[in-house]
């Protein structure tokens, strides 16, 4: 079952991400540098869910890390909500979840979700922390430590932590990359539900074409290193998306097109975004 993408405008202010002519070089020796990302122009609109896919090593995580204030671009500018990313980070306005959940092993789920409050020097809002745990389906595990949880449960807690302070932008770097395929599908459904409730500007980096189509409003395909934008596609499925979307012809057609674009020896569709 396919339906046209909803054109209902999302509410919210200028919570966007803008990359203009962004390149990133890494030193590999005293004399040599490696160009990881090359002249990326990208705009993630307020409340949009954008996924970046690309071959391994194409620089998609580097792009996310620049938006997250973890890397500085070698040239070009990155702005989040009209401000440099490190300003947003210092203002505690960014949320992030990586493939490595990076929960603190000595803290309970509740304390891990409350961590951003502590780092912002604020007293945790117990009701909000409990609500976030409920939102990610972890209400019965508030007192559990990460070691007592499965991989999927840890990622749920990590996502709740990312949402704790109501960030302006949510950054997800392969958040479900280390869980099995069945759990991953289930978590994608959960993430879609959570995102639909919060409608937060989201940048997802993933290897999975299926995940990107299921979750995103728009998908950017990068070339092999150095990563350049090869293809941009809108996802034409209305929300909320049911699991059945994955079995439609339109889904498969889009998946085939994106997979082909990912293959460097495949055809190169024209750049349209």
């Amino acid at each position: 079952m396919t339906e046209p993408r909803s054109d209902e405008p999302r509410t919210g202010g200028n919570k966007d991400v803008r990359l203009v002519g962004v390149s990133k070089r890494f030193p590999v020796s005293k004399k040599e540098t490696l160009l990881a990302v090359d002249r990326i122009d990208l705009h993630v609109s307020s409340n949009e869910f954008l996924a970046i896919i690309g071959p391994s090593g194409c620089g998609k995580s580097t792009i996310l890390r620049m938006v997250a204030s973890l890397e500085e671009p070698t040239s070009g500018t990155v702005m989040v909500s009209g401000r440099p990313p490190h300003e947003l980070a210092l203002a505690h306005r960014l949320g992030v979840a990586f493939q490595d959940h990076a929960l603190l092993p000595w803290l309970s789920s509740w304390e891990n979700v409350a961590l951003p409050y502590r780092l912002a020097g604020r007293k945790p809002d117990a009701d909000h922390v409990a609500a976030l745990l409920t939102l990610v389906g972890m209400e019965g595990f508030a007192g559990s430590r990460p070691k007592q949880l499965s991989g999927g449960m840890r990622q749920r807690v990590a996502i709740a932590r990312a949402l704790a302070l109501g960030p302006e932008v949510l950054l997800l770097d392969e958040p479900f990359g280390s869980v099995d395929a069945v759990t991953r599908r289930r978590l994608n459904l959960e993430l879609q539900r959570i995102w639909s409730e919060l409608a937060i500007t989201t940048l997802l980096v993933t290897h999975s074409v299926e995940e990107a189509i299921f979750l995103a409003d728009r998908i950017v395909v990068l070339t092999e290193r150095p990563g350049r934008i090869k293809l941009v596609r809108d996802v034409p499925f209305a929300r909320p998306r049911a699991r059945e979307v994955l079995t439609t012809d339109a889904f498969h057609a889009l998946a085939d097109e994106l997979t082909l674009a990912l293959d460097p020896e495949g055809s190169s569709p024209e750049l349209d975004g």
């Binding site: 890390r65 490595d100 603190l104 961590l115 780092l119």
Partner: protein
């Protein structure tokens, strides 16, 4: 495959059998006089220890207090310097060199100097502190930098201040290393305290050992040395138990 409980029981039993064989060999060699009069039988050492139990207890308490004080002082200084090195990276190389210098100073040369610089009864505390310091410093320094890159990244994205990062991530991450250092440091502190007591302390196992040597009382000497070894093993074992719990929580 044996159950973990059974395996543990077998390991303990084998350990006890090993100790029993050692004590029997000690007794036999002592009774035969195979290693001379300075190797008394185990039973004579135990008898001497019981006969002098008041003196033994007082000596043990004095040495333990000096060792604990030295342990706390040495660990605290190590902690303070390791944290300073973390917060002020420019000072890190200097602090590292200072720690190496302190570790390189031979106690034997330092003992007489300390007797002149501090009271004789403080010399065991100072040497115990020095004995603990280096292992603690190295353990804590590496522990403070043991947080994973992903944890560090999350703290950066969440806008953690340097102090918040230290308090919420780096110090808790260093706890297992702190216990590792303490496990090595506790027997070293005891050894340092005993050594320090050779330089004019008014009581302690070190004094008992040196006076027993000078008065040629081999039974008392062995009893004091055995008590010191037992104390070191108890400290090591207690910290091993703490380490087990800490590892479970912090890693």
């Amino acid at each position: 495959m044996a159950e973990p409980g059974e395996a543990r029981g077998r390991r303990v039993a084998l350990g006890l059998i090993g100790i029993a064989i050692l004590l029997v060999a000690w007794e036999v060699l002592g009774r035969a006089g195979a290693l001379g009069v300075s190797w008394p039988p185990f039973s004579a050492v135990v008898r001497e220890g019981f006969a002098d139990r008041g003196l033994m207890w007082d000596s043990l308490v004095a040495t333990t207090i000096a060792a604990v004080k030295g342990f706390l002082i040495g660990t605290s200084i190590a902690y303070a310097l390791a944290v300073t090195g973390l917060l002020l990276p420019v000072l890190r190389p200097g602090i590292g060199r200072l720690a190496t210098v302190v570790n390189s100073v031979p106690w034997l040369a330092l003992g007489p100097l300390l007797v002149m610089l501090v009271a004789p009864d403080l010399t065991p505390v100072v040497i115990a502190a020095m004995a603990v310091f280096f292992a603690s410093f190295i353990s804590i320094s590496s522990g403070l930098q043991s947080a994973s890159e992903a944890h560090e990244d999350v703290f950066t994205v969440f806008g953690a201040s340097r102090f918040a990062r230290l308090r919420r991530l780096q110090l808790p991450s260093a706890v297992p290393s702190l216990i590792d250092g303490a496990k090595l440091g506790a027997p070293a502190a005891l050894l340092g305290a005993i050594f320090g007591e050779w330089f004019g302390a008014s009581s302690g196992l070190g004094l008992l050992i040196i006076s027993s040597t000078q008065l040629f009382l081999p039974e008392r000497l062995w009893a004091a040395a055995g008590l010191a070894a037992l104390m070191a093993m108890v400290a090591y074992g207690a910290l091993g138990a703490i380490q087990y719990r800490v590892e479970k929580r912090f890693r």
